[in-house]
Symmetry: C2
Subunit: 239 residues, 2 copies
C-alpha cells in the first residue's frame, strides 16, 4: 500500500503549485495567529471566526452574542477592536464559552485561499502534538502551508513544518525540497527554538513592539495541545 504524501508550501504565492483537494492543509502562522488560536480554544473559547478586515470584525462582533473582537495592526490592538493577537490575552476565566472574532493578515488570508482543501486544520508549536497525532491517524495527503510574512518565506513557519515532518515524516512519502529544507533547519533549532528564532525577520519586527515574551510563549511545544479544525468559516477545538 502506498503511503500518503507530505509537502510544504513556503508562501501563499506558491499555493497554486499544490493540489489541495485531496489533502489536509495545515495552516501555519506561528507569530502569532495560529498560536493565539490554539491558546484561546484550549482555554475553552467556543469558536473563533477569522476575518480579513477590521470593519468586518467589528460588524460580526456586534451581531454575535458573547463575542470578543480581536486583532492587531502594527503590534497594537486595531482601532475599534477590544483585544489583541497575543496567545497570552486569553486565559480560561476570560475566554471560556466565548466566540472570538479575530482579524489577522497573513494567517486569515491563507485560510481563505484554501477553500478547495479537502480539510483544513491550524498548527503552531503550542499544539504540535495534536496536529501530528491527527495527521498520523488520518492516512491522507498533507500540505504544510506557511502563512509567511506578506508572501515572503519566513523561518518560524518553516521550522514548524520541519517539526511536523521530524515527528511523523516516516509515515509519509516525501519528495519535496521545501520539506527537506524545513526539517534540516528544524534539526538545527530543536531544543533551542526561541534562541534560534531570534535571528529572524519576524522576531526583529515584533521586538520593536516589545513582543519578545509573546514569541517565547509561541515556542512552547504542546503548551495548548488542542486540535483546531476549520469548518463552515469557524475554527473549532477538539481534543
Amino acid at each position: 500500500m502506498s503511503l500518503p504524501k507530505i509537502e510544504t508550501c513556503f508562501s501563499p504565492s506558491m499555493l497554486h503549485l499544490y493540489d489541495l483537494r485531496d489533502s489536509i492543509v495545515v495552516i501555519i502562522d506561528v507569530f502569532r495567529a495560529t498560536s493565539t488560536i490554539a491558546a484561546a480554544l484550549h482555554q475553552g473559547a467556543k469558536e473563533i471566526i477569522p476575518v480579513a478586515q477590521v470593519d468586518e470584525c467589528i460588524r460580526l462582533g456586534s451581531s454575535i452574542p458573547n463575542a470578543i473582537t480581536a486583532g492587531e495592526r502594527d503590534g497594537k490592538v486595531a482601532p475599534g477592536l477590544q483585544h489583541g493577537n497575543s496567545p497570552l490575552e486569553y486565559p480560561r476565566e476570560f475566554v471560556s464559552g466565548k466566540t472570538l472574532v479575530l482579524t489577522t493578515t497573513n494567517g486569515t488570508r491563507l485560510l481563505h485561499m484554501c477553500g478547495d482543501a479537502g480539510e483544513i486544520i491550524t498548527g503552531s508549536f503550542l499544539n504540535l502534538g495534536a496536529v501530528c497525532e491527527y495527521l498520523s491517524s488520518q492516512g491522507r495527503n498533507v500540505l504544510l502551508a506557511c502563512a509567511s510574512w506578506k508572501d515572503r518565506f519566513n523561518l518560524e513557519d518553516s521550522l514548524f513544518a520541519g517539526a511536523v515532518y521530524e515527528c511523523i515524516g516516516s509515515q509519509f512519502e516525501m519528495n519535496c525540497d521545501s520539506t527537506r529544507a524545513a526539517v534540516a533547519l528544524y534539526r538545527q533549532a530543536k531544543g533551542q527554538l526561541y534562541n534560534y528564532i531570534q535571528d529572524s525577520a519576524h522576531f526583529i519586527r515584533l521586538s520593536k513592539f516589545n513582543l519578545q515574551y509573546d514569541m517565547e510563549y509561541c515556542c512552547k511545544i504542546d503548551h495548548h495541545n488542542v486540535l483546531v479544525k476549520y469548518m463552515d468559516g469557524k475554527l473549532i477545538g477538539s481534543s
Copy 2:
C-alpha cells in the same frame, strides 16, 4: 555609510515581492542551465543566446553564422537541436568562438522575467568565485534569484544562494529569512555538496536520465570561474 542590501528569492513565483530595478540580480539554475552557461563561456564560446522555445532556438540557430543549437527536454537533446544542456558537452576545441543558442525551461524563463533588473548576471558553483568577486566590487543591492523547478523551492539553487552569502555576506545589510535559511543549509552542505544534494528532488529526477556525473560536475566550485553578464538578450563572459 549604509551597506547595500542582499536578499534571496526562492522561486520565480515570489519575484514580484522584490525590487529589481536597483539591484544586480543573480540568476541561479545550478542543475544545469547556469552551470552549462559558465562552462561554455569559460571554454571560449563567443556568446550564449538563451531562448524559451525549441522552435525559436532552431530559427535563431540557422540565422546566426557559427551557431550551435542546444537544449534538452526530459533529459534528452530536444528534437531538432544539435546538443544538450550539459556543462560537459562544451570543451574548448568544440565551443571556442561559437554562438550557443540555448533553450532551457526554468532558467530562461526567470531570466526573461527579470527585464526590470538594474543588471543581470548568472551564477553556479562552477563560477561562484567570479560572482562573489563581482558583487563585492559593485557595492550595489543584490537579489539572489533561484530559478527553482517549475516554481517550487529547490535545494541546489538555494544552497548556491547560501554559498554567496557565506562568502560575501558581511559586506551587505541582510534582513531576509530566505537568505538566513539558505546560508544555514549551505553550512550543513559545505565540503560535501555532492553528497548533500543527493537527497533532493532534482537529483532524484535527473538520476533517472543517468545524469549523476553531470550533477557532480555542477558541484565543482570555481571550475569554470568566469563572470557571466546578460546584456541585450545575450550572455557574455568576462574575466
